[in-house]
């Protein structure tokens, strides 16, 4: 009887909180979007599933050993932790606050106490420590992305870089938006949080995760989910903005064919880029360094087996762990918050502004150069979201003129956008990190 009762007492059903139900529902929505709507499934399937696992009651899969001791520990272990943390009341709420602010040595001691009482890090917490807390996973993803990126179209027409720069305006405009909402008392973001939210507008998942790990780790879940969700929404969000800001005639502009690019140029480009980053913005060096390393492996032609692995086995493995880890922070008290709503709204605004800035920059460049060399539709590809944004440009170009293939032309600003967001990320970390 006692046993039956214990089964029931410790079952998920008897311990389910409203927050957990809500977050499991959020997880299902992410899985639905990923599987049925094909929203960035490579990330959203693991994130959604990780979110569900993290919210299974009583399982503590996403908690550290100390958190597990807090939630499931008896009076003995809680008493020891209260003494260690200097908690007067001994209430769990107070201890959690004290623990969050404790010195690293105190945290280590708390972990030892928890382990001595049989509480261990949950599996997803271990993944989170290794993949995200260490900063390794976004960097390795970026290495793989570098190994998958062909800078040929950008090298053939380097001025496209300006479109990639302009589209980052969305990032900084969003920071202002977040700051304004705070000033107006609607939301309450610190400048660090505002900066991390702005990066969503960079349309680059790993960059957003990397920045928010450093500037606002408690918002990681909301930011990562927004970033990937909006990257998937590119084909819906961008076209109306692009149509609004361009004339039919502009959309019909046929661009001149790209010049061939030599192998040597492709090999040297990641080195030139690394060189500039090293000299001007060391804060962006880890992210762009790994990106350039991946790209050099791809282009140099002598380490194809490493490049293959970086693009396949390694990036897939890291994606699985990164996705589950991001999912592990989708817990009710961090996610079900007015802030998350603010982040979602600001994120989409960032996106829209970035898209508009790119298109307007393309028009400005035509105006400045006094010609019609650039179809403004490719400006929107400057937000990154490779290769989706470039495909959107191509699609709208074909609508206006069935012979107008913009894909290759749009790949230039598209990959420039990746560089642009990484630079913006470095600036954020440098200024407010």
């Amino acid at each position: 009887m006692e046993a039956l009762l214990s089964i029931w007492r410790d079952s998920g059903l008897a311990n389910l909180t409203f927050g957990q139900v809500a977050m499991i529902f959020v997880g299902f929505i992410l899985l639905y979007l990923a599987i049925n709507k094909k929203f960035e499934p490579l990330l959203l399937v693991p994130i959604g599933f990780g979110g569900i696992l993290a919210n299974i009651p009583q399982a503590g899969i996403a908690y550290s050993a100390v958190e597990n001791a807090f939630y499931f520990g008896g009076p003995e272990v809680l008493g020891e932790l209260a003494i260690l943390l200097g908690s007067a009341s001994g209430s769990i709420a107070e201890m959690k606050v004290l623990y969050a602010d404790a010195a690293a040595s105190i945290k280590a001691a708390a972990s030892f106490i928890a382990q001595d009482s049989g509480y261990n890090n949950g599996m997803l917490y271990n993944f989170y420590s290794i993949a995200i807390l260490s900063g390794a996973a976004p960097l390795l993803i970026f290495m793989g992305v570098g190994a998958m990126t062909d800078f040929g179209p950008l090298l053939a027409n380097p001025r496209m870089m300006f479109l990639g720069a302009a589209a980052q305006f969305g990032i900084f405009a969003t920071v202002i938006g977040a700051v304004m909402l705070t000033a107006m008392g609607v939301m309450n973001f610190t400048i660090q949080e505002a900066a991390a939210i702005g990066i969503i507008g960079g349309a680059d998942g790993p960059t957003a995760i990397w920045v928010s790990t450093m500037l606002a780790p408690h918002l990681l879940g909301a930011i990562a989910v927004s970033a990937y969700a909006y990257m998937a929404l590119v084909p819906m969000v961008q076209p109306p903005i692009m149509r609004l800001l361009t004339t039919e005639r502009e959309r019909k502009i046929v661009m001149s064919q790209l010049r061939p690019v030599s192998k040597r140029e492709k090999i040297l480009f990641p080195i030139v880029l690394l060189f500039l980053v090293a000299l001007l913005l060391p804060a962006a060096a880890p992210l762009l360094g790994m990106f350039c390393f991946g790209n050099l492996m791809r282009e140099c032609g002598v380490v194809d087996r490493l490049s293959d692995t970086a693009q396949n086995a390694l990036i897939n493995i890291v994606t699985i762990f990164l996705g589950l880890s991001v999912g592990s922070v989708l817990v009710a008290d961090k996610f079900l918050d007015l802030q998350t709503l603010g982040i979602m709204i600001l994120g989409i605004v960032a996106f829209a502004i970035g898209t508009a800035s790119g298109v307007l920059m393309a028009k400005a460049m035509n105006w400045m150069m006094g010609g019609n060399a650039i179809n403004p539709l490719i400006g929107s590809a400057g937000v990154s979201a490779v290769p989706m944004a470039a495909r959107v440009s191509n699609k709208l170009g074909l609508e206006a003129n069935p012979q107008n293939f913009l894909l290759m032309h749009a790949m230039g600003p598209n990959v420039a956008g990746v560089i642009g967001s990484a630079i913006a990320a470095g600036v954020m970390i440098k200024f407010v990190g």
Partner: protein
Amino acid sequence: MDDIDIITEGFYLLVFGMGFVVVFLTLLVIATSIMSRIMMRFEPAPVPASPRKGHTVAASGQPNDQALVAVMSAAIKKYREDRNGQ
């Protein structure tokens, strides 16, 4: 006061951040162009702007190639499944 502070900080970030992005990418345009010009002097542009990853591109006019790949990918898949199951 806090509100004003954060607004100031936000605008600083906007101005210096966006400015830095533009300056950096401008320098990158210049550096890339110089590099390309030097390289083209050595080697007069052989490889065509690689559609290596061009998914939509295709149109290489070799249906045999496509068919071969299709047959092979299916066969490889089957082979792998058989092997995995052993």
